[in-house]
Symmetry: C2
Subunit: 513 residues, 2 copies
Amino acid sequence: MKTKEFLGQLHAIDRDCCLLEKTAAILQWDQETNLPPEGVEERANQLALIEGLANERAADPQIGRFLEELGSKTENPSGDEALPPVERDFCRALRRRYDRAVKLPPGFAAAAARAESLSQAAWVEARRNNDFAAFVPHLKAMVDFARKRAEYWGFTGGAVYDGLLDAHEPGIAAEEIARLFGPLRERLSALLKRISAKNAAGLERGGDWAFLNQPYNTEQQARYSRDLMESLGFDLRRGRLDTSAHPFTTTLGFSDVRITTRYIEGNVLSAIFSTIHESGHAFYELDINPDLRGTCLAEGVSMGIHESQSRLWENVFGRSRAFWEYQFPRLKAVFPEQLREVTADAFYRAVNRAGPSLIRIEADELSYSLHIILRFELERRLFSGDLAVEDLPHAWRRSMKELLGIEPQTDAEGVLQDVHWSMGSFGYFPSYALGNLYGLQFLKKLRQDLPGYEEDIARGSFAAIRQWLRENIYTWGRRLDPADLLFKVTGENLSVSPFLEYIEAKYTELYGL
Amino acid sequence: MKTKEFLGQLHAIDRDCCLLEKTAAILQWDQETNLPPEGVEERANQLALIEGLANERAADPQIGRFLEELGSKTENPSGDEALPPVERDFCRALRRRYDRAVKLPPGFAAAAARAESLSQAAWVEARRNNDFAAFVPHLKAMVDFARKRAEYWGFTGGAVYDGLLDAHEPGIAAEEIARLFGPLRERLSALLKRISAKNAAGLERGGDWAFLNQPYNTEQQARYSRDLMESLGFDLRRGRLDTSAHPFTTTLGFSDVRITTRYIEGNVLSAIFSTIHESGHAFYELDINPDLRGTCLAEGVSMGIHESQSRLWENVFGRSRAFWEYQFPRLKAVFPEQLREVTADAFYRAVNRAGPSLIRIEADELSYSLHIILRFELERRLFSGDLAVEDLPHAWRRSMKELLGIEPQTDAEGVLQDVHWSMGSFGYFPSYALGNLYGLQFLKKLRQDLPGYEEDIARGSFAAIRQWLRENIYTWGRRLDPADLLFKVTGENLSVSPFLEYIEAKYTELYGL
């Protein structure tokens, strides 16, 4: 009976792998927040070494051997020989990471990393010069690397894109996403057209939002952001708020989850909603069952579930009337001059103004998913062979016209706007829109269990909400796949209805449609 | 002719080892400056893993093999077969690190690290409770580990303490230090007694220093410290200033050297002189020849030479009349209220007030070396077997009385005051006093080459001084041993005269003796 020993060995390898991954995350966090400019080059060498060591651990041949020795014990849920459920989940997560790592031939990951680094630099230049042609060879290389990676993982032919999706959202295929995005596309587009018509008819409330176009002192913004995250329940003994060029959340340890934001004098909403968004990501990571600490199970299960949390906090809670009922007086106390004439209701309307726009990361809650659907459809066609890289700008403009009713004048504000493709990240975008769907399905159940949750928010109290999210979602870490987690919590499969009903109700009321 | 290949392999191993050491330094820096309190435990695991990997590289058996293959090429300075000088220095430094690592038996380093960690925790408690007896078993263990370590390195019998000294100051032995500390002890003690007599006779200028006992806003202190470090020539593209409980300097990359300070509202001098002191350490690391970047030669050669630089900047430059001629108006502009009645000369006198005190880290420039001499003499007796751990408190009080004329009332402000012994760091203290000696010998030469250096300081211009230090000292990194570096720069061996002449002149003038 060597079961215990094999498991112990697997845990030892996994432990080192996780410690190395966290170490790499620390180097990256420091790079984004603190690194002196001249230190960049050596930092890249440090990161490459640590990431290489983490990858070595993830692909340690001993993992394959021990998993084989454990054999059916890692799968069979019955019988004396079966492992405890949490150990089976551990073995499954370990095998998934191991398989992904060992199926790539030696040198592939390093070659891809080098090409990605060149490609990202080329993208920065191409976007700056609005020169898509200069970026084409790099983007082609990125598509090739992604295709090969999926093929090594065992996804061939028409399933290549499924392989890329699976890396971000385990278990979901392009066909299912397309089935969901169909009605999403149609109804969001229709809703957006009605709002555009209202806006065009001069009925938009732009005049009420002039208070946003004022300078807001960034030091005071920082003070308000810290207060805000603490009022959401962020425990600063287990995390931090810092500033970086682009907001992000990173887990440097089980009790060291850090978020960043940025302060723009002319845009007070930017820091506020980044702070809430990243706090949502952080709460997920901070509230995983402590028994899983230090293992590969102690992280969010997928990009989509992660985004469901950041978006739940940012949009559903953070852009609600109840939220600003409590927070607006607090914000007004920090910026009494700028907000003197403004009411909580006007502020609520201002943070929910909608309309078609060119740039994804500036889009409102309603039109955001349309930006994602556009990218999903183009990615899918790229990998089915239906669309050539050279034809992307044209396809982009056509889709924008169709989905949002507007067209970019330049590729810089069109196909070149996002960093993702330049890094070879295909199959990533859909998670953002899936997050909206998961989030509203979770909320439907939360509302049943906590019917008074909106009054809580209006009182600035998030304890019960956070507890519900922790006990139902966060605590599981990677133990359950996204679809199983969703079903366990809601008793339903992935669906667009809760999200569409929420969005349609919210914007019908907001715009008096 | 495989020379090139062997050298290449040695550089590859050394490169990884250095990257891992820097990575560990990043984890530590983050721990001191940013880590949320609950993250401490996991950070210890991350650090242990990375330090373990660095130690593995330092003791990689291939290093021994390749050095052997290179054989006499690494040593013989003549002949066609000889390596270029810089590669010989590289092999020598590599061998030193390798020998130190491989001579320790397996498990020794880990056992010592565990014991040190327990001992340090016990010391914190013992100091808090003023309970030396509770610390005795730990201190005995620390002495034992240190003795064994030196013995493994090949220092036996009466030479054990030499082995510990050599780890901090390569090439120096206890006998030589004793020879230097003799006259230092005698003349500093005598000078201090004359100052004490003056102070006791009511002639001290304490009344003039009342302005120090006021609150100085810590945010303004921080702003002044940043300005100060930049005015010394610290290039913020290659480093940072942060805050931590105890000020330190750390090298996270060739162009990423960070210093910390701390801001105490009731003590404006603390942050100022920490900032200058740590800047001195940083300049040394930042100005090493860029050709050595990323190798084991790209660091300061010894603790003593490092301290010579921090003390040169902090005391010789930073506590000079010329320095405050330029800086005082700037400080006064930040704190106009507190410094309204104060002149540059009064400030100069205030930062140089002297007298016997119990606590080393609060001692003035004159009496500081006496605190070191006391520790050196006790350490030496501990390792010669002449003094038992249990008898340390008594011996401490006797020496304090003899050297400084005062006695601690408690062990907490006596033998328990420093962290060093609790971590098993024996042979470390002398570097602080050696730094004073090296520093003034360097200054003697600098003054010959740059006779106008004091006018430069009075004009706030450090460019020529920094260039001289870089070209003569900093650029070498670890290529030269301390004694060789000193001789190369000054043409002299280690000597107390320049330091004693400087101190006696300065304090005779200050106190009108």
